[in-house]
Point group: C2
Chain length 337, copies 2
DNA sequence: CTCGGAAATGGGAGCGCTCCCAAATGGAAG
DNA sequence: CTTCCATTTGGGAGCGCTCCCATTTCCGAG
């Protein structure tokens, strides 16, 4: 509150004026481009300090046609999908990588119609230099908008259907296979799968991995059932499963939430885990550690997923042409199997 | 891939040309401002559709001096602070409110030095129309930068020290008092507090609430101890507490994480909860429901916190002068007390 | 002392939009 | 058929920065 003169923020012209150079030279000095004498460069630096000059990012964006921002859009019909700790991890990873590339992070939760409209507009208007797209479902209304985007798009997790040009994914099928093989290696012979949403590629791939492992062992896989990746869904599916097949001795759950749901139903129906039924989950979220018993699960490198998406996008913005990436998973052994 | 002509995105001039009007009229029509005849307005709309025109947000931002974005900055020396599900809830709330105000959300995790530098620059450069600031600690390096920000700043949770002009907070002291009073009403007479970080106002206010309640009951409050809001910290603090005061019969934990830590130590030292020691937490995060036993805790409206911060900021950007807001908490009864 | 080329410099034209303001248009009133 | 005012219209000047390019400056070589 010392001096509250309604002073505008200084412009590059004023810096140049004070430094006694032209705007061009000042600009070059600022972006430390070549063709600036040592003397003038220093004069500019001094003027910048004296005036407290900070370049106007908007003006720069207009001139360079680069906004300096990358958007992370999380699709879903319900904003609460974002409450999944999964996304927080993705963001931590992406944020770190974007920081390195000097890009800002815009977060778009495309839940409502209005939200989707805004994302579409962002995509078409060039309001960001690139987009990271997560949790796209089959027939997602954003799918079309993405195709005519005015900027590069990196997918987090392949969408259902033909693989996009750029994506980062986790080895869902491989992880599921490994989990199922482990269950089988324990001597379990009636291993069922609790499917996730089958309108996502992750849901499908995890079932495929399960099925492949069971077939490879010469056994009959359980048919896929529509799931929803929620704890309640896992509990219900397990109840239904037990009704039809009381002799199940192993369960591969498409994610930890469903795994925990299974644990609950199993407990409620008087079965011991892992003695009577062994359970393996997928994700390795915090919940897998605090469940009772702690859940053996397929760990996926979520921060790395975010990081690699951001790096890929930064490369794209930089004019390079990176190749898709599939991150490895690994089985984490705990008490449930 | 139908026609891959390197066509630029159309500009307003081209729209105007096609519609047979001047750029001014086209601009007015687009922003549906007055002084445009019905006929021309329609002509412009037609041209927009035909050309697939989308206004360039950067150019608009430069001309209006409004970026159309609000930043949410989460301070902290460690990016993993963001993994706390708390922030995801704040974001869900803020995102919804920003959507209504037609502002985009920029997320800044100011963890590294570089990250902080970027936030400072954002603040000073006017790269956003306003900022929501969370988790500011005492002596936070961002504190100073905030004061000379070129835009309105809304605090999420009061910082330590003099209250800022605009903030949204939760009634920390009130919630803590209520929790403690409840413990006292249960007939407990040796109720201790597990403090959170005392370099945050939330940590201090919660201790004050506890102390006030104990004093009001004519008892002696336990002295404050430095805590860290983590499960491990809660467990350790509880162990230390029990060593000094084996007869404690009630614990008010400054948040759920610490409450769960207390539960663990209590269990490990052979005490029954709530029979021997009653425990109350603060936050009402998911962990409070799945803990063993489920944690009685002070619920705080986190999404609302985010929503109100965003609304306050939108009002500020809109030139209004909103007043600070303190959101109520409420005690949620579960098995631990 | 002259010349040539490399380095440094600054003028100016954008980037695409908003908004002020003067000029043109269109009726209604006289 | 004027006169006048309320609208509508379009020209033009920015917003603050980058970048191309024509000039100027500087030096060492000849």
């Amino acid at each position: 509150m010392a001096e509250d003169a309604p002073r505008r923020r200084p412009t590059l012209d004023e810096v140049a004026g004070l430094a006694g150079v032209s705007r061009s030279v000042a600009s070059r000095a600022l972006n430390n481009a070549p063709h600036v004498s040592r003397a003038k460069r220093e004069a500019v630096e001094r003027a910048v300090r004296q005036l407290g000059y900070v370049p106007n990012p908007t003006a720069r964006a207009l001139a360079t046609r680069q906004t300096g921002a990358a958007a992370l859009v999380v699709s879903g019909e319900d904003p609460s999908i974002f409450a999944d700790p999964f996304f927080a991890q993705v963001i931590v990873g992406a944020s770190a990588a974007l920081e390195e590339a000097d890009l800002h992070l815009m977060l778009c939760l495309a839940a409502s119609d209005r939200g989707r409209k805004r994302v579409e507009e962002l995509l078409r208007s060039g309001g960001a230099d690139g987009v990271m797209l997560m949790a796209l479902r089959e027939d997602d209304p954003l799918g079309r908008a993405v195709e005519e985007a005015a900027m590069p798009v990196v997918f987090g997790g392949r969408p259902v259907g033909p693989a996009p040009r750029w994506y980062v994914d986790v080895d869902n099928a491989g992880g599921a296979r490994e989990a199922t093989e482990y269950l089988l290696s324990l001597g379990r012979t009636r291993v069922a799968a609790l499917c996730g949403r089958l309108d996502t590629e992750a849901g499908r791939a995890r079932y495929r991995g399960y099925r492949d492992a069971v077939l490879a062992a010469g056994l009959d896989p359980f048919p896929p059932g529509e799931g929803d990746f929620t704890e309640g869904g896992g509990a219900a599916a397990t109840a239904a499963l037990l009704a039809d097949h009381p002799d199940v001795d192993g369960v591969f759950a498409a994610n930890d939430n469903m795994g925990v749901g299974a644990l609950r139903t199993l407990r409620e129906t008087g079965r011991r885990v892992p003695d009577d039924v062994a359970v393996v989950g997928f994700d390795d979220l915090a919940v897998a550690q605090v469940s009772d018993p702690p859940l053996t699960t397929v760990h996926q490198p979520i921060q790395a997923l975010g990081r690699e998406m951001a790096r890929m996008l930064a490369a794209l913005v930089d004019g390079q042409d990176p190749t898709p990436l599939i991150l490895p998973t690994r089985l984490v052994f705990r008490a449930s199997a």
